[in-house]
Subunit: 195 residues, 2 copies
């Protein structure tokens, strides 16, 4: 195998990058100054050494606990439950939520062999039992598996006394009724509110 | 900057990869075993050390001269002129061409400040003068700049005695007349051959 093939093979393992794109990226890097591929190599090599899971909320972090769990201004009585650490970034960018998080590490998916023990659901119930939690907001994705996971979390958490809520599903802002799917429109109608 | 941001920033410098895709790739790597990002880092770091330009044809290679220039079964009297080393792979995969190559390293583009001296046109004329060359096939892309480059190469090479030919332009195999642009159809018509 040549160095070009080696790199293209590794790049093609990434999601959304096929063999042709991998080769194009490789040739692109060969046209750039060597420093660019060297720097990319360095940050890649450091990634898994520097980034770990927060021992409280399972967010990806370089410090433990993570910045959000350590932040004294956050409301520790409200936990927002998400599937992946990347979802925290999306919610934080919205700038609305001032509570803390809990990363499940995926969603229930019997077909892929992902059961409750593969997620951090037990650790979530332990947090709720040891800390004073007012509300658990379940923010798994509104997909079939995300809804099933939300329902499972709700059944585990509700007996512990905290209120369990689910993020609203409906037509996205800037979205178009004409292009929305039937399930979303049905949700938007049934969750209608007085104006 | 965090390790996640560092990597996303470097990945976003690659062509066709925006900020969101870069973050998605980073989170993907964090879900894989650390070995995957380590291996990618290793081949990236080695890339610019292992790969160089062939001193004869300017192909990207780990040995000098490159495998094609060293191959005794290739016809050294026919040179196929291409813009980039990546074009050689495309032509080799077709399995038709048995001559050797010359990589220009780009195409003439006055708007981008790329003139004849930025390409390996002088080295091409030197090759033709020192070796016995029967034919020079100009295989630059059939774009505006590729055609201008082809014309320039033809004018430099023709006085040296070698035949200068241009790859055919027309409707691609499996292509559809209905979706072909007018210039391509005009080319396909004017270059028609007796059946």
């Amino acid at each position: 195998m040549s160095a070009i093939d080696d790199l293209a093979t590794e790049l093609a393992k990434l999601p959304g990058i096929g063999r042709k794109t991998a080769l194009r990226l490789t040739y692109h890097l060969l046209k750039q100054p060597p420093e660019q591929s060297k720097r990319l190599a360095t940050v890649l090599a450091e990634l898994s050494d520097r980034v770990h899971r927060c021992s409280v909320c399972f967010n990806l972090t370089e410090a433990d606990p993570c910045g959000i769990c350590r932040d004294g201004r956050r409301d520790r009585t409200v936990i927002c439950v998400v599937e992946e650490a990347s979802d925290i970034g999306a919610i934080e960018r919205a700038g609305e939520f001032r509570g803390v998080y809990h990363v499940l590490g995926g969603r229930l998916s019997p077909l892929d062999g992902v059961g409750p023990d593969d997620l951090t659901i037990r650790q979530l119930t332990e947090r709720i039992q040891s800390d004073e939690i007012r509300e658990v907001i379940v923010a798994t994705n509104p997909s079939l598996e995300g809804e099933a996971t939300a329902l499972f979390v709700q059944r585990q958490v509700a007996p512990l006394g905290a209120a369990v809520t689910r993020i609203a599903r409906g037509i996205p802002i800037g979205g178009d009724l004409e292009y929305a799917d039937g399930v979303t429109i049905a949700q938007a109608l049934s969750a209608r509110r007085a104006m």
